[in-house]
């Protein structure tokens, strides 16, 4: 990650800070129009996940590149209880109506790449990337 910036997350106002910083960073990285909103919204979802389920953690934001493509990377990390059933957590409430309401499936749809690593009792790390068109 290039120019990494960190936003500590431990209450709801931090969610707003994180997504506003994310929007700024995405604009600096060359994203425009609705992409800025999609990125900010995805950050909002993963940041809330920290506040609601882990109480505290952090969001790391930065530019990234791979094979000549430029983009933005967002890492949401916490040391909370972890997610016992990731498959269930990633289940899409949109079609099934059985979402756990974690906001993670939504975040995945808004970004190009989405990875989640979680260990019960240790915490959760979500890594998301979006590439510039």
């Amino acid at each position: 990650m290039i120019d990494e910036r960190r936003v500590p997350i431990d209450r709801d106002v931090d969610i707003v800070t994180a997504r506003q910083l994310g929007r700024e960073l995405a604009a600096e990285a060359g994203f425009t129009g609705s992409d800025l909103t999609l990125i900010a919204t995805a950050i909002s979802e993963v940041a809330r996940n920290i506040v609601v389920y882990a109480e505290r953690g952090e969001i790391r934001l930065g530019r990234t590149d791979r094979n000549g493509r430029e983009g933005i990377e967002v890492v949401a990390a916490d040391e909370g209880p972890g997610i016992p059933d990731i498959q269930q957590a990633m289940q899409d409430g949109f079609s099934t109506g059985r979402s756990l309401g974690l906001g993670l499936p939504g975040a995945r749809r808004l970004m190009d790449e989405f990875e989640i690593v979680s260990e019960v009792g240790k915490g959760t790390v979500v890594t998301m990337r979006k590439w510039r068109p």
Binding site: D12, V13, I15, V16, R19, Q20, R23, G33, S34, L36, T37, L38, A40, T41, S44, E45, R48, V51, D92, G93, F94, S95, G101, G103, G106, R109, L110
Partner: protein, 123 residues
């Protein structure tokens, strides 16, 4: 930051001025539910023009405002959803089904009149 709620006739207008925290949103929900009951309002307009992000929590809260006020006899119209926000909501699968929407406050008041008339006829 709390949201000012204006009373205009039997309509309440909540005009959001800036980004809201989850707490602000929940407070808006409580205040609107309380005011609709106390003032016997028939309609609620939520102006979200100033919101550059509406995530699943914000959308869920607006849904529950609409449900709570409907129980107290008022219809809710959401106005001013920005084009980029509309795209993000659709991508998230949050299409606010069953809640009226309008372009801006003026249009929202018109839509509210139509919706309230339709409800009166249905009764």
């Amino acid at each position: 930051m709390s949201v000012p709620i204006l009373k205009q006739g039997d309509v309440l207008i909540a005009s959001i001025q800036s980004a809201l925290t989850d707490r602000d949103l929940l407070q808006l929900k409580d205040e609107l539910a309380e005011k609709v009951g106390r003032l016997r309002s028939r309609g609620v307009v939520i102006d979200v023009t100033a919101l550059d992000v509406m995530d699943s929590f914000a959308t869920r809260t607006i849904r529950s405002i609409a449900a709570a006020t409907r129980l107290r006899g008022a219809e809710t119209v959401v106005v001013g959803i920005q084009p980029e926000v509309a795209i993000a909501l659709v991508e998230l699968g949050l299409t606010l089904d069953g809640i009226a929407t309008a372009l801006d406050l003026e249009e929202g008041l018109d839509v509210l009149v139509e919706v309230m008339e339709a409800r009166r006829r249905d009764r």
